[in-house]
Symmetry: C2
Subunit: 136 residues, 2 copies
Amino acid sequence: MSEFMLDPRLARDTQAIASLELCDVLLMNDARFPWLVLVPRVPGLVEICDLPAAQQATLWHEVNLAAQALRTVAPFDKLNLGALGNIVRQLHVHVVGRREGDAAWPGPVWGSGQAQPYAEASLASMIEALRATLEH
Amino acid sequence: MSEFMLDPRLARDTQAIASLELCDVLLMNDARFPWLVLVPRVPGLVEICDLPAAQQATLWHEVNLAAQALRTVAPFDKLNLGALGNIVRQLHVHVVGRREGDAAWPGPVWGSGQAQPYAEASLASMIEALRATLEH
């Protein structure tokens, strides 16, 4: 049986926030958008609809938790959820807080411009606040 | 109590396929992508995470059904799911079959170019095939 390994492109672009029952929760290192990515630790998983129903329920529960943490830490006007995977096939669900007038508004964040990495102190405080909220 | 009414922009861009327990299933009238949109018939609903857990479970079950119908009728390389709502706030979930090299590949379909309406006969046969599969 193969082991779960986070795709190296996801690992490169994100910071680990928490490990929930099913998913690793990652923060996209892009200060333009408060943006979490949830990755179920299931080796070889590509499509949500290939996940057994019970695990799907856990996934959506964890998406809710991530959305609530984001809402607490970085209030948004609209939540954007997406599971695309056209480039990175390992199943990952985007949970993005959108603000009217943000860098991609009203278009999607995916494929929009270049990521702007957080300043070191902002990244640390964002990670800490998200962890505190998720672990609450 | 206000009644559910489909947003007129969704109504304009889509064709009704089926009415499931929670959601109306609509076909985006864009021949570039096999693209369904699910709209829970809940008045005033904007965010998935504001839907009670039981209805969320029904929503994701119906997203699965829609994805399977799409997979049967118009096989795809990758499923794209999205709930954005930056422009149309009424909650709607996109279920899009993507093919390598399609008109937006590997970017997202949202905000990509102009819709190409189906020819009349193709639209009718697509609707019929999706209905037959969903009602199966």
